[in-house]
């Protein structure tokens, strides 16, 4: 628990520590199998005290997702802004998403994918809306490449294939292995533009 500072893109306030601990537990055991007692214990308070910070357990889950969406949308925007060519932008997007998904915000991102259905319909809708800016950044870059003739497949479908590829990475990618994150990004980029690494 020592180095939870700013991990998951969440700041080091009491609320932030609670969210980081929750993200960690939700990813390890899933939302349903994580109890408020677990979360409380991992930040050193009693279970009843949780409800001073969040009204319900589900609100904690939503807050984790909200934070990570905001953090990574900003990162994606920066990634795109730093590149001028469409292909450079797509490479930057893939790198940024991989970074978020197997790197610094891995726990919260995995939670967003795997515990999505634990949100009420209303909160799912709200989170999807936050997420739409994030997706638009992808679609803009893919659309540009598509218009340049870099690939023939519909950009929407291509985005979904990429979502699958990056989203599955936490299940196998080893950050300490010989394959670097940038290597992997290039391999994925080649699936789109048809080069061959």
């Amino acid at each position: 628990m020592a180095e939870s500072l700013a991990i998951n893109g969440i700041d080091d306030s009491p609320r932030g520590r609670l969210l980081s601990a929750a993200a960690h537990l939700f990813r390890d055991k899933g939302f349903d199998r994580t109890t408020v007692r677990d979360i409380a214990a991992s930040v050193g308070i009693q279970s009843g005290s949780i409800f001073h910070h969040f009204k319900t357990k589900e609100d904690i889950l939503y807050a984790v997702m909200e934070e990570v969406i905001h953090f990574n949308t900003a990162r994606l925007r920066d990634a795109v802004a730093a590149e001028s060519s469409a292909q450079g932008q797509l490479r930057a997007l893939i790198r940024a998403e991989l970074q978020s998904i197997v790197g610094d915000t891995a726990e919260a991102m995995t939670v967003m994918v795997t515990e999505w259905r634990c949100l009420s319909e209303e909160k799912q809708r709200k989170a999807l809306e936050l997420r739409s800016i994030y997706e638009q950044l992808w679609l803009d870059a893919l659309q540009a490449l598509h218009e340049q003739g870099a690939f023939k497949t519909d950009p929407f479908i291509m985005r979904r294939l990429l979502t699958g590829m990056t989203g599955w990475a936490p299940n196998w990618f080893d950050r300490d292995g010989s394959l670097t994150l940038d290597n992997l990004a290039d391999i994925m980029l080649a699936r789109v533009v048809g080069e061959n690494p």
Copy 2:
């Protein structure tokens, strides 16, 4: 519940109907949020009666996965056997996996992916072992293509990218839409061999 016959690759015995109902509920609400009372109600018996067929709720989950692994391993084997070229085999594998994952065994397959961690470590190990034949069929075909120079990326990595692409499909693919399953298979195949549909 009328047409649950042989859906999910499970036969129409009392046990089979129980497993189909469980697969449906597990996929809809997740394992943890599905109660034995839910499962019992959906086949028209009382909750206590469930435990005549299965010792624990977790055993039901394991049985669902066991059945779907066996069924789809057989399907994959047939798919490979019907093709002579490595590329034809890979296309057949992708089609078969898509069929299993968004088609007739969609519920059980989704459950296998999303509720994996709800199995005890011991049952996870057993299921992984069953699954290894399935994976070997993929690796053999990819290895052959790799040796022919059809792509440069490590076949193990390529398999993982494909796993991600097919595994994400249930979240967006519309079986009643204009994109057919075979279209999608060809689009995915092109991500591997570098053609451009």
